[in-house]
Symmetry: D2
Subunit: 286 residues, 4 copies
């Protein structure tokens, strides 16, 4: 978590003895010093193995392709690993999609400006026009892609034009349109959504009104990867806030905004720092 970040390596594979020794030996032989390391095995017998390492790697940018290739051949492929190496100057490119509510959008833009987020925000897209002025004040391009009734297919096409190949991550910062399975497939990068309830409680629309009606004593927010089934993807982060009978729906929404932006910011930051590994419909967060 220090600023002068190292090179990050994440791997996921079937668990078996010797994985750490193989990876650590490969790194030692190339002069790397492991600064942080986390690993998790879902079950030592027949389970899945996940690891994230941050290393100080004394190689030149020109040597990286070779390093990647050697790692793949000697370590990763024999063990059937999914893996990823992120070098110190690799910064994910993010697009933010947003509807009317802007608290998550501007929270991310401010964090980027304060360098709390190790990523570039390269694009903001909204189905409403009115955030344009405030977004461009951050020197970030803004696109208005309206989604008129019956025009969703056309709108998704327009979004794909803007996003495909341009970004490494899409963040739905209170974007109130449901994305189709085909769109997600063609987009082919992870999509993180913030849902304004503590899932699996109150999926779908109007969670604060339903929380008020049920009389819960805590309200929450959930950041998760988007899959085709609504509000069902792998959860990255959740948090809650205490409420009382005195808080009406409008006030729940106001309080909820604080927890939504905090939860989304953590999820996006952890994703950009390669801390989140997907394990079926759940996540391992290192």
């Amino acid at each position: 978590m220090r600023r002068e970040r190292g090179t990050r390596l994440t791997i996921a594979c079937a668990d078996r003895p010797g994985i750490v020794a193989d990876v650590a030996g490969f790194l030692r032989d190339r002069g790397a010093n492991i600064v942080h390391s986390d690993q998790h095995s879902t079950d030592p017998v027949g389970g899945r193995f996940f690891m994230r390492m941050e290393v100080m790697l004394p190689i030149e940018p020109a040597e990286r392709a070779g390093f990647d290739q050697q790692f793949d051949e000697r370590v990763a492929r024999p063990a059937g690993m999914r893996w990823r190496i992120s070098y110190p100057d690799d910064r994910p490119r993010i697009a933010i999609l947003v509807s009317r509510e802007d608290h998550c959008l501007f929270d991310l833009l401010w964090r980027r400006r304060r360098e709390e987020l190790d990523a570039e925000i390269v694009l903001v897209v909204s189905n409403h026009a009115h955030h344009g002025h405030d977004v461009t004040a951050f020197d970030v391009p803004f696109h208005h892609v309206p989604v008129d009734p019956g025009e969703k297919r056309r709108a998704e096409g327009e979004l794909l034009q803007l996003l495909r190949g341009q970004v490494d991550l899409v963040v739905l910062a209170r974007y109130m349109q449901i994305l189709s399975g085909e769109f997600l497939e063609q987009l082919a990068v992870p999509v993180i959504n913030i849902h304004h309830s503590f899932l699996p409680s109150f999926p779908g629309r109007g969670p604060y009104a339903r929380a008020k009606k049920r009389g819960v004593k805590l309200i929450g927010a959930t950041a998760h990867y988007v899959v085709e089934e609504l509000d069902a993807g792998p959860i990255i982060e959740q948090d809650v806030l205490r409420v009382t009978h005195r808080d009406d729906i409008e006030h729940l929404e106001q309080l909820g905004r604080d927890i939504e932006r905090a939860v989304l910011a953590r999820a996006v930051r952890w994703h950009c720092e390669d801390r989140v590994l997907i394990d079926g419909n759940t996540t391992v967060v290192f």
Copy 2:
């Protein structure tokens, strides 16, 4: 919240101007000093009004019946109030029902022994025999009422024999039998249950296993009044605990025990201190 407690007055009625003035005037005219007061109106126009007062009331025990009658006639009845007065030496009598898991049971017994709970625990009943020795060490009577398959009706009859008219509150401290609507009706005192999830997430059986499967990042517990529909009654208190991918189901259960006993203890204490007023399917907790 001080030990030398005062007299407590709780009221619920349709909201209209002048209620506080009427109540406070009645009390002032009898020399009472209001130490704490909380009130809540769900809506100043056409809403419900709830109030809890703690007062220092300089009357003798022999005068209480007269005081109650005057309050009813002059203040409560004209305004259509539900009301309740609890004098400094009134202590609710509690029965605890429990199955195999004993962490909530012994937490309540210890709190009672440390005088954290302003109530008497007069009875523990279990569908298993094996807590008998430990319970009687607290000088609390223990009854074993087995619930064999097909014998639920007979078991509920036996429970009613033990409980009806003997207690002011029944606490289900991880009692894993579902109580019938008829039983609840004949029992005719409030029943508080601890559910081992953050309701409305994971109602019913096996909430920790389902939480693990869904990959939630917080687990919780919910204390609620029991109604005939399972896990649907008014919520009194909830709390949560952060968990990670490293916690297997067994460990979730272990962590959960701490949050369950804390949440149940708060709910029972607040109920015994007349802090919990029911508003339809929700609660006002002062």
Copy 3:
């Protein structure tokens, strides 16, 4: 906590029987409906009494001065009350003082813009020039008042010119200059500061570095009213965040910014909603 706010009444006085009856009777006789009420007595015998009421008061703006006068004569003066009435359209005028760190400043400006804060931010003053552009984008005037070594007296004079009589509250949103006792006296309005530690731990400079050195497992922030003695005034709100050995000082500062802005925002909002009453060197927060 609803948006269509009522009229607020706060009082503080020596406790004695009948205060609530007197206040509630006065209000009832003028057709007022009490929507919320909180009260607290530090000790029913010889203690201090605090009350906050929110009422629906059916009088015209022109009648307010008369209402205030009657309340003062008939209720407040006989009981020796400090009191304050805030009508539905009364909005406190706030000045924000800030140094280099801008996270609290912009959090407050955004909250004001989203109408989460029932107040006007009429002025931002900084001892650094560089926030000017971003502040004026919120249509709030910005003043640069440098504080050069040996020039503190002159700078405080300049601040007094800007603030005296113009504002009802001054917020130190990470303003790193110590204000003199004379300045506070002449300013004559409350000043709220955010300190970046969980006071009384780590008062003074460099709290995150000292927290790291001591190895605490939680870091926090404290919002308090400013008195002449540094970091010693009545505490309004505090909160904490879990940290680990992995967080270096720079990362503690980054995490701390989230907790600082949340704590300061709550303190300012509660102050503006007349929820905070001072009791010696502590506060009652309703």
Copy 4:
């Protein structure tokens, strides 16, 4: 954190490249599978390195001494490591010292009975006689060692007789006697204390009264290793609880008991699971 625990290895040494590779290679060559691993470097250049591994190690008990010796010779000594290996059936022997307040004592005894604690509680010692009956009901020996004024030296001698060589950990579960430096030195095992405040706030006596006086909005507890200087040792765990103006000192103490026992239980459990490594006056908690 699973019940069928593996073998645990902890190491601490000066950081340098290749440590993980050396350890993991040594383990792989002996057929071990690493189930969990955590590591931390205070600084990749010139810092300290800490690691905790849990491994499935297919060796017989008779082979352990040889394994330890080989690890020491081939891996640990060349790198100047402090290290410790704990085999699956190694269970630390704990003595609990307690004064009048018994909530932490009985919480630990209950957790042990529910097998939440991977340790044996072999002895309870108190400077008061009255917990004897309740402790022996848990089949744990109880000793009364009074500490009369002027007799502290004699009492410490008696304690040393009971503890030295008999236990691996001493837990001060609200033991209100200060232990001398000589005693700690001769005891020669770690001592964990629970302090009833959020250190470094309110060290020494009467922390709740001082918290009330200062008007803090959160109270806390701190579990730390004991060093000669009072309340100054390395902190293992801390937590806090929200309080208000309504809580008097007696109620703060009551609320505090919940947080004290929770914090102490976590610290003891983590210590027994070899999760706590000492780094100067701070801890690394894996």
